[in-house]
């Protein structure tokens, strides 16, 4: 990725030898450039971006689920947990990367720790809200039928909280896909790398448009997949509201 630093010449010197006229003339979008750079630059960046985001949301989900279950059982835990996750959520992303860089280093750990910390508030609140929204009469019926606490949680509360949980996951994944474009500050992977490169390349915009567009597309696809998953998992949520 070091070639990016060399972007100082008239247009894009590092590609000069093989540049098409589109690139030379700084047209808004050069399909030829995309075709040539898909395999070496864009596709790997996209894959890295998916991994960065999915790992962050997965870890964030596990942590948030544990926190939400604890707060569901012991309601006094809600306020301190909300406070801490809110503070984490409000730290400016670049500042957080800087803070992590010194103790953790310029590596994947800094990147993931930062991304995970931004999922916690969203996921924790949604999971807890979902668990709390289970109607009291349903819980009464579950207890009266002789379900244990654990059976009530697994068979009644979590399934009924699923729509709220998926809603949280949708916000989290879209947020993290966007946020992961600035992970390049501590870890040079993901779609943020070509975007950053493009920003340093002066007037040539194709790389910026393609990498940015891929990030948006990725967010929409991830959101769509979650909607689809929810429809399959909660057939009951769509019936007879009348």
């Amino acid at each position: 990725m070091t070639f990016a630093l060399a972007a100082a010449g008239p247009v894009i010197p590092n590609y000069a030898a093989q540049s098409s006229s589109c690139e030379v003339h700084n047209r808004l979008f050069c399909a030829e450039w995309v075709r040539r750079n898909w395999a070496p630059v864009l596709w790997p960046a996209l894959r890295e971006h998916v991994v960065l985001a999915v790992v962050a949301v997965a870890i964030g989900f596990v942590i948030s689920m544990a926190l939400a279950l604890a707060a569901h059982r012991y309601s006094w835990l809600e306020r301190p947990t909300t406070l801490v996750t809110t503070i984490l959520y409000t730290i400016p992303a670049l500042a957080l990367f800087e803070l992590l860089a010194a103790p953790v280093g310029l590596n994947v750990y800094s990147a993931e720790i930062a991304l995970v910390s931004y999922t916690l508030l969203i996921l924790f609140r949604n999971i807890l809200a979902g668990l709390r929204a289970v109607p009291a009469d349903v819980l009464d019926a579950a207890e009266g039928a002789g379900m244990t606490r654990r059976q009530t949680l697994l068979r009644v509360e979590l399934p009924l909280a699923l729509p709220a949980i998926v809603a949280g996951l949708r916000i989290a994944i879209v947020t993290i896909i966007a946020l992961a474009t600035i992970v390049y500050v501590v870890y040079d992977r993901g779609l943020g790398v070509p975007i950053h490169t493009a920003l340093g390349e002066g007037p040539f915009k194709t790389e910026l448009i393609v990498a940015g567009g891929l990030a948006i597309l990725l967010a929409l696809v991830a959101d769509g997949l979650l909607v689809l998953a929810q429809r399959l998992l909660t057939p009951w949520a769509r019936v007879g509201e009348s």
Binding site: P135, D137, D140, A141, G146, L160, W236, V239, G240
Partner: protein, 350 residues
């Protein structure tokens, strides 16, 4: 599926199980409250009978019911189900043996009707085959079409259908005791009357011991083999058959609670078949022949009185099942019924 299965091969016996319930000086005291919520409550419900707990709000009737399956911990006294103390039992095991129906029904919205009904059998770990057969049997019992209903979700049912599914779910594991907390409270009056009738004929078949909570004295009189009237502070004022309570209220509180029209309510408990009617010839043939109103013998004395009042006090011709004249119903017969009942010595619970 129907023929091979164990539950089905048990046939009508699958519903025959019922146990006696006995409360012995049961009390409930909440920490920080000076007065107990339930005070020294004692009564016995014979196996297969419906006991209605009735009283104004604050009388602790729901609390008393929830003490039985230990949804609320007991502070003192003991409760015996089939001669065995519920305090010795693991609460969740006890609850799987006690059917539980609440006013809001509390069906699981994410489960199909079949899955809802199968709740307790699944907790008990019944084999799949047996559960399927039992669910089928319960659909028939509550008069819902399994073909149409099995795969639906609760949100797709009417209030009355949900209520019946709630009863089926409570009956699923053939519990010896059912607890029902205002089960028809959320149903509109017309459908409520129908569900009450359906439930009474269902009870004819399943013969469960039932503790039924309501604040509605008319419902209590209609549904109960016995009625326990509670007063504020969880004090049992009277425990008797509906007829005894209407004829001999224990005190002013009960008399007020059952209402000034208790004479009329009492008439609703008697059908013409139970009365000594007037021989037609004693009033002269013209009265029978003149096309006076004709009623069946299953008509209640209350309805007969209402008809007579509408007809300007003229007698009714009572017909038996074959359409023959069984006798005549006059205002005098009603008068005699009321004076006879009032003269009876206090019988106490039978």
């Amino acid at each position: 599926m129907k023929t091979a299965d164990t539950a089905h091969s048990e046939g009508p016996l699958a519903f025959a199980q019922a146990a006696e319930l006995e409360l012995r000086s049961v009390s409930k005291r909440y920490p920080g409250q000076r007065e107990p919520a339930i005070k020294e409550l004692s009564f016995t419900v014979p196996a297969g009978e419906v006991c209605v707990l009735v009283g104004p709000s604050g009388s602790g009737k729901t609390t008393a019911m929830r003490l039985i399956n230990r949804m609320i911990p007991i502070s003192g006294g003991d409760i015996l189900l089939g001669g065995r103390s519920v305090l010795e039992r693991e609460p969740r095991h006890l609850r799987r043996e006690i059917g539980y129906v609440i006013q809001q029904i509390g069906l699981f919205p994410h489960q199909t009707i079949s899955e809802n009904i199968a709740t307790v059998p699944r907790l008990l770990g019944w084999p799949k085959q047996r559960i399927a057969a039992r669910v089928q049997e319960l659909f028939e019992l509550i008069g819902l079409d399994p073909e149409e209903m099995a795969g639906r979700y609760p949100a797709q049912l009417s209030g009355g259908q949900r209520q019946r599914v709630g009863v089926a779910r409570a009956l699923a594991a053939d519990p010896p005791l059912m607890l029902m907390d205002e089960p028809f409270g959320a149903i509109d009056p017309i459908n409520r009357a129908r569900l009450q009738d359906e439930f009474l004929s269902l009870q004819e078949k399943v013969k469960k011991t039932i503790v039924f909570v309501t604040h509605d004295i008319d419902e209590a009189i209609k549904m109960g083999d016995r009625i326990a009237i509670l007063r504020e502070g969880g004090v049992l004022v009277q425990y008797d058959t509906p007829r005894e309570i209407l004829t001999h209220p224990a005190d002013e509180f009960v008399a007020q609670f059952v209402g000034a029209d208790r004479g009329l309510k009492r008439l609703a408990l008697t059908t013409l078949a139970e009365l000594t009617l007037i021989e037609p010839n004693r009033l002269g043939a013209d009265l029978v022949a003149d096309g006076s109103l004709q009623v069946g013998r299953q008509t209640t004395a209350r309805d007969a009185l209402s008809l007579m009042l509408t007809a300007g006090g003229r007698p009714l011709t009572v017909l038996d099942g074959d359409g023959h004249v069984a006798g005549l119903m006059t205002l005098g017969v009603i008068e005699k019924l009321l004076s006879d009942e009032a003269a009876e010595p206090h019988a106490g619970p039978r």
